[in-house]
């Protein structure tokens, strides 16, 4: 596939690895804040191949993992209603709520459907006028334009039986919260390439300046990530700090303006709780009042639910990068993908699941056979 496959080229990747090792005089600590990047790093064994030249800490880049327990419980309550067809991206279906997950709700008679796009959910609403269709709007800024459009179209076309359960989060406040933590070790960031495709990178400029950290907007394939790491390492070695763009094929400084515009028309910044991190002010998106009719929480009168998360789940520490999944006492024992204690083990992008699925066995890395 063009613009994808070439960024997996082993020869280029090996050359980048060599360059990183040659450049880094010090084991710099970098963090990626994107589940897709975490996935690639662990799946390709990049952290293993970096071999101590750079330490990669996995940040809270998985919107599934950071969706608060309350929102999951609200989703479960909605899905259990006989008048509701509950639609969601596949990622959310296995995340445990307080009592169960969407799969169990389905087994008990709830209608739960996986869709590829929020427009498919809108379509379902049109085709099932006798049912209420609710869409679970989870994600970072990458998904906000799609969700915004679904709500916008619902209003424009008068699709009255459609509503959205919103649980959006935005990245920059999380990065700031991490940098503010007194025991923060992260010295540079890889910013999520698709979040920035939509939003551009202007929001990261003040962060880089204030905290003096390099932030490199990076893609998702091995070559992208290695190049992003190299750019960050070069900045650190040269004592520079600023925002740089590795993912030039998709990201411009201003992002995709029409998408940003519709997102601000439909959504507004709200305080959001991040599972494992607590409340981060103005870090989430909620529907504006003009679209209150399409807000599932309002339509179905969902009460706020306060639930304690299992004490043993160290999801918060993992999400903050304080703990590597393998260091958690429950990892692989009480907590596995089959019976997860927390979201990072359930979500395919979660750091714990990534390590469990890909990283449990580490063969000695081959010495780089010639291409």
């Amino acid at each position: 596939m063009k613009y994808l496959t070439e960024y997996r080229d082993a020869g280029v990747a090996r050359a980048l690895l060599a360059e990183i090792k040659a450049t880094a005089a010090w084991p710099w600590v970098l963090m990626e804040v994107c589940g897709g990047q975490t996935h690639t790093i662990v799946k390709q064994g990049l952290d293993q191949l970096l071999d101590g030249a750079v330490e990669m800490i996995h940040g809270p880049g998985c919107p599934v993992c950071v969706t608060p327990l309350e929102q999951i419980d609200k989703a479960l309550a909605l899905a259990a209603r006989p008048d509701v067809i509950f639609t969601s991206f596949g990622d959310m279906l296995r995340v445990p709520g307080s009592e169960c997950d969407l799969q169990q709700v389905r087994a008990r008679g709830g209608t739960v459907r996986v869709v590829y796009s929020p427009l498919d959910a809108l379509d379902l609403a049109v085709r099932h006028p006798d049912r209420e269709v609710v869409f679970f709007g989870v994600g970072f800024e990458t998904t906000a334009p799609a969700n915004a459009m679904a709500v916008w179209r619902a209003k424009q076309l008068g699709i009255g039986n459609f509503s959205m359960l919103v649980s959006h989060v935005t990245v920059p406040p999380a990065i700031t919260a991490l940098l503010d933590a007194p025991d923060n070790r992260v010295q540079g960031f890889l910013a999520a390439g698709h979040v920035c495709s939509v939003m551009g990178w202007t929001e990261y400029e003040p962060i880089a300046a204030r905290y003096r950290v390099p932030i490199v907007v990076t893609g998702f394939e091995p070559v992208d990530i290695l190049e992003g790491i190299l750019l960050a390492v070069r900045q650190l070695e040269e004592g520079r700090y600023g925002v740089e763009n590795q993912y030039v094929r998709s990201v411009r400084r201003e992002g995709t303006v029409p998408a940003r515009d519709l997102v601000s028309k439909v959504f507004q910044l709200v305080d959001r709780q991040w599972r494992g991190l607590g409340v981060i002010p103005r870090s989430g998106l909620g529907l504006r009042e003009e679209f209150a009719d399409f807000d599932a929480e309002i339509r179905f009168g969902l009460e706020s639910i306060r639930v304690a998360e299992p004490a043993e789940c160290r999801a918060g520490d993992v999400l903050r990068g304080k703990l590597k999944p393998m260091q958690c006492p429950a990892f692989g024992g009480r907590c596995t993908p089959l019976h997860p204690l927390g979201a990072p083990m359930v979500s395919s992008e979660g750091a714990c699941a990534a390590y469990y699925n890909y990283g449990r066995y580490r063969a000695p890395a081959s010495q780089g056979a010639q291409a």
Binding site: G11, V12, F89, L119, L157, S250, P258, A259, A371
Partner: protein, 91 residues
């Protein structure tokens, strides 16, 4: 965030005022909402698609320029993928 993949626009159309199109991802096609990039794209252009929406247009010129830099850095005559593409023929 993630799972945005590049695809080539093969068809543009209008659905009750919304710019839609067909995008080809290496042989697989899907309907995609092109509203956010409508003023930038034509048939044949590449876009990054996430959950059925084009979120950006691929800058092919920039992509080539930066990848050429990488190639040079790698000191490789020809990349493995280019060889494969040559062997496979046009798609």
């Amino acid at each position: 965030m993630c799972l945005g993949i590049p695809g080539r626009i093969t068809e543009l159309r209008d659905d009750r005022g919304l710019a839609m199109g067909t995008v080809d991802f290496g042989g697989v096609r899907r309907e995609v909402c092109l509203e956010y990039v409508a003023d930038q794209v034509r048939t044949g252009d590449y876009v990054i698609v996430h959950v059925g929406f084009a979120i950006s247009r691929v800058d092919e010129v920039e992509a080539k320029r930066t990848f050429d830099v990488l190639r040079e850095m790698s000191g490789l005559e020809e990349l493995e993928w280019m060889r494969e593409v040559a062997e496979r023929g046009p798609q």
